[in-house]
């Protein structure tokens, strides 16, 4: 049993998201996941720091009864990086939106991933700017009609998964806001992972972009249009658990088990730990209707982390340096005495 329950992570602040907003569910999953993380990794509550940028989802730190930092638009990733490097014993969680992390904060986002700083980034992707009341974001679909694109956007969106993997991310998972159990599972795995963990949450903005993910998240079709990947398990999906993914030459292909001689053995087994980023990229890129959209932990590989590197270098250089205090430093090198 963890020493904590979800109540320990609930602050006394009134949650001010719109009724029906997907962010409520992600917050709930987080408040449930953190006690589990503490149980597994032995983190005391005071070691949690929740950081955010600006946007609807960035209000999240106020609702967690942990140390928190609600920063400025786009910069959460840089603030998180500083916190983690300054004190690697903290466990840093970040809430940010698609506009926040991928537009104004895109630079910090890719560089944190490149450095593999041990921070856990929850990317709330509702494909819209909510807090400024409905402008298109870098993940809005091509042609999306919004307040700033009344005739439809003429630009391609980012797929956050491809962006993370393109920056050689070591952990990427995707889920849907209301999938509480899966989200909790992903968050615990992200905590376990050393390095930058990016968790893309497909969230619904009831006011400005209602139903943007509906085509895959609707209860009636979800199982046929998404696939939950789990390491070591066959890539099988569908209401009847009869569809699967195979490699057809260089491309993934959806097949039906039992048709055209396809058996379960032919279906790919998910390896989240393989270094081969190509297959993870293909999985992250899958779009409905050609493919099911991949959910779950797509990639989770080991690599050195930036914060460990910085800390170890300080220790290593200290061990062999002759300069151990400022007085030593001041008297090092060329000095002379006036008598």
């Amino acid at each position: 049993m963890s020493q904590y329950t979800f109540k320990d992570f609930k602050s006394d602040q009134e949650v001010r998201w719109c009724p029906g907003c997907g962010d409520h569910a992600v917050l709930a999953a987080m408040q449930k996941a953190m006690p589990a993380v503490s149980e597994e990794l032995g983190y005391e509550k005071e070691r949690y720091v929740v950081v955010s940028g600006i946007g609807c989802s960035s209000r999240l730190p106020y609702y967690m009864d942990t140390y928190g930092f609600h920063s400025i638009h786009g910069r959460a990733t840089a603030i998180s990086t500083g916190i983690k490097v300054a004190n690697p014993s903290l466990t840093v969680w970040q809430a940010c939106g698609d506009g926040d992390a991928l537009a104004i904060g895109g630079n910090h986002f890719i560089h944190a991933i490149r450095r593999n700083v041990d921070i856990n980034i929850i990317l709330f992707n509702n494909q819209i700017y909510g807090l400024t009341k409905g402008q298109y974001s870098p993940t809005s679909k091509f042609g999306a009609i919004t307040k700033t694109s009344p005739y439809g956007t003429v630009e391609h969106p980012f797929n956050p998964g491809s962006l993370v993997l393109g920056a050689k991310g070591t952990f990427f998972a995707r889920s849907i806001d209301i999938e509480l159990k899966l989200n909790e599972e992903i968050m615990v795995a992200a905590a376990r992972h050393d390095g930058t963990s990016v968790m893309e949450m497909l969230t619904n903005c009831v006011i400005f972009n209602d139903g943007t993910h509906k085509v895959i998240t609707d209860r009636a079709v979800k199982e046929d249009r998404t696939i939950v990947l789990r390491h070591g398990q066959k890539m099988i999906f569908g209401k009847n658990r009869d569809k699967g993914l195979v490699l057809d030459g260089m491309r993934l292909k959806v097949v039906t088990i039992g048709e055209n001689g396809v058996t379960e053995d032919d279906i790919l087994t998910h390896d989240a730990h393989t270094d081969n980023i190509g297959i993870h990229m293909m999985l992250a890129d899958m779009k409905y209707p050609e493919y099911p959209v991949a959910l779950g932990i797509i990639r989770d590989v080991k690599d050195v982390t930036y914060d460990d590197g910085v800390r170890d270098q300080v220790a290593e250089v200290s061990a062999r340096s002759r300069i151990h205090c400022v007085d030593d430093l001041l008297r090092s090198g060329s000095v002379w005495e006036v008598k």
Binding site: E44, Y62, S71, A78, I79, G82, L329
Partner: protein, 610 residues
């Protein structure tokens, strides 16, 4: 010709050549050896922004001025006694800085038709420049260097790179400098990777020295006796190095690890480079993806309990503005070092100015006060950085430390202090009271909030850019907002209680008080002294603290009829003073040329204001 050895009180030597001629190194070596010899010293590197500007052109000239003296030396000197010109362009760019009595040492090999044409000379350069009355010593330095190393086995390119050693050898003869320091330098520099270069460099250096001794073209040589400096251990230090070390000292005295998040930018980069070396003192450096990440990682580190620093120059500070506002709002300790350069925009990146003061004071949205400290000499950057960190940590506020390219790159001898003479730094860490932590509850004396660092049980709280009340709860209540605005301002104002009072150099009352701030200190002091030599009375005070002003500022100002504020901008500080203390009579003297003041022009301005 009779050779005389003249005892000189002070001498200004300017080394100038192409940006690839090694003049910065030659100048630094001449400076360092003079420092070790015991001279008073001030240096001024003046180089183009291009790494290798077009060969032989005036815009590509790189210069390094060394002022040595047997007394205190406050400035790099306006005009030089010796100009070393490695090509016609270097002569052209620097002819206006020759004293009447100056000697010019030039590399005759470069004064061919091509070289003269590149520098834009039509005929005889000495005539064109009107410097025929100076002592011109034309030496075929390139040929002699090649001759010196003909048996060295080095290729021509490497041989030609040794020209600067020949020049340095000649300068050492002219100013009777012992060369052991340079030998040691060469051995240290090359011993690991290029031991084959030690002997040739030494040979060229000695050949240059001997050549100067033998040619009879140099009638007089000079000695500059060691300065009667205070007893103790000295070193030569640049402003950027001193800034880095002052921050390390503050880290030690506060017991907090130093974190520096920065992005490379001229002329501030050397601070990040210097801190990156000193990991053995626990310094963590993060070369960020941009200026914004530089300050934001530092803000994160401050929240996590480190002594957080970001270093930059003008355009970088512009990028950091929003985050600086966040640091003001979250009331976290942060030191921002701005090594000012000529702006606006990219401006003239390698040239010095004081034109960021308005930006630092006013360049943020909302009511956004912070502390502004300014360093006044290269070595003073140490104390200024230390004090900036102390104020930031003890008053829970961002502090901007203004230095200048002139200070950052310039150097001077420094009486090495002892850390036992520096005060402890005591941040207001939250005490265990048993009650719920109120993150924005203020210390009644300083108005600083308490600092509770993540990892401490029971102090979980949230900070952020949104307005809050004393409990740390979000509040858009109009009255609360105004209270918080006033308290943040008052907190900064109360820093005046702990900073040193202004000191007046000269009589404490009179007709004219000359006022400066930052890196103009040495020039203004020299100018004031020069004016006094002509029997006139003038006083001088210099501000190391700009925001808040020292408490006794009105008291000092009230005793003078006129206040002449001299600064390297269009009047940022004088306008601040006019706003805060409008009852006094201000005059101003400004220069915005990307260059330090000349003592001579300042003295003229002071005379006019008397």
């Amino acid at each position: 010709m009779q050779h005389k050895v003249i005892d000189a009180n002070d001498v200004v030597v300017r080394f100038a050549g192409d940006s690839g001629d090694g003049m910065q190194l030659t100048g630094s070596l001449f400076a360092d050896m003079s420092a070790v010899y015991g001279n008073g010293l001030s240096t001024f590197p003046d180089y183009p922004a291009e790494i290798r500007a077009p060969h032989g052109t005036v815009s590509g000239v790189s210069g390094f001025t060394v002022h040595i003296g047997s007394g205190n030396v406050a400035t790099p000197g306006d005009f030089c006694d010796l100009l070393v010109a490695m090509n016609p362009a270097a002569l052209k760019a620097n002819a206006k800085w020759l004293k009447r009595t100056a000697m010019v040492l030039l590399d005759d090999d470069t004064f061919d038709d091509k070289g003269l044409a590149r520098a834009g000379f039509k005929g005889n350069p000495v005539e064109e420049l009107g410097i025929g009355d100076r002592q011109i010593i034309a030496v075929p330095i390139t040929t002699l260097t090649q001759e010196s190393l003909k048996d060295s086995g080095l290729d021509l390119k490497t041989v030609n790179k040794c020209k600067n050693m020949f020049t340095l050898g000649m300068a050492c003869f002219i100013y009777s400098r012992p060369m052991e320091y340079i030998y040691t330098y060469l051995e240290k520099k090359f011993s690991k990777k290029h031991p084959e270069l030690i002997a040739p460099n030494k040979k060229v250096l000695n050949d240059g020295y001997n050549y100067a001794a033998n040619i009879q073209a140099i009638p007089d040589t000079y000695t500059v006796e060691p300065a009667l400096l205070k007893k103790g251990l000295y070193r030569n230090i640049t402003g950027n190095q001193a800034t880095a070390w002052g921050l390390l000292a503050a880290s030690e005295k506060s017991g907090l690890p130093l974190f520096c998040g920065s992005y490379p930018i001229t002329p501030a980069t050397a601070i990040l480079e210097e801190l990156a070396i000193h990991k053995s003192l626990g310094a963590k450096t993060l070369q960020a993806e941009d200026e914004i990440a530089g300050i934001c990682t530092a803000i994160g580190a401050a929240f996590a309990g480190n002594l957080a620093v970001t270093t930059t120059s003008g355009p970088g500070l512009s990028l950091k503005s929003e985050a600086l506002g966040l640091a003001v709002m979250t009331e976290l300790p942060l030191v921002v070092v701005d090594v000012q350069r000529a702006g606006p925009s990219t401006g003239i990146p390698t040239k010095t100015e004081q034109t960021d003061l308005n930006q630092v004071l006013y360049g943020r949205n909302g009511e956004c006060p912070l502390v502004v400290v300014a360093a006044h000499s290269p070595a003073h950057c140490f104390d200024a950085a230390f004090m900036s960190a102390k104020i930031a940590l003890e008053h829970m506020t961002p502090v901007v430390l203004l230095t200048e390219g002139f200070l950052g790159n310039g150097s001077e001898p420094w009486l090495i202090p002892s850390m036992k003479d520096y005060p402890q730094i005591n941040p207001p860490f939250a005490a265990e009271t048993g009650e719920k932590f109120r993150p924005f509850e203020r210390d009644p004396e300083t108005l600083a909030r308490k600092w509770a660092v993540p990892g401490r049980k029971g102090f979980e709280h949230r900070v952020g850019g949104l307005e809050k009340n004393h409990d740390g709860v979000l509040s858009s209540d109009p009255v609360n907002h105004e209270i918080m605005v006033r308290e943040r301002a008052e907190k900064v104002a109360r820093v005046a209680r702990v900073i040193p009072h202004l000191e007046v150099n000269g009589p404490s009352e009179g007709s004219l008080l000359v006022v400066g701030w930052g890196g103009t200190y040495g020039h203004i002091l020299s100018a004031v002294e020069q004016v006094r030599e002509s029997g006139k009375t003038v006083s001088f005070t210099h501000f190391d603290y700009i925001s808040p002003l020292p408490e006794n500022t009105p008291e000092v100002f009230s005793r003078f009829d006129r206040i002449l504020v001299c600064e390297l901008n269009s009047g940022h500080f004088v306008n601040l003073l006019r706003g805060l203390l409008p009852q006094y009579n201000y005059l101003q003297y400004n220069k915005v040329q990307g260059q330090p003041f000349l003592v001579q022009e300042l003295a003229g301005a002071i005379e006019k204001s008397l």
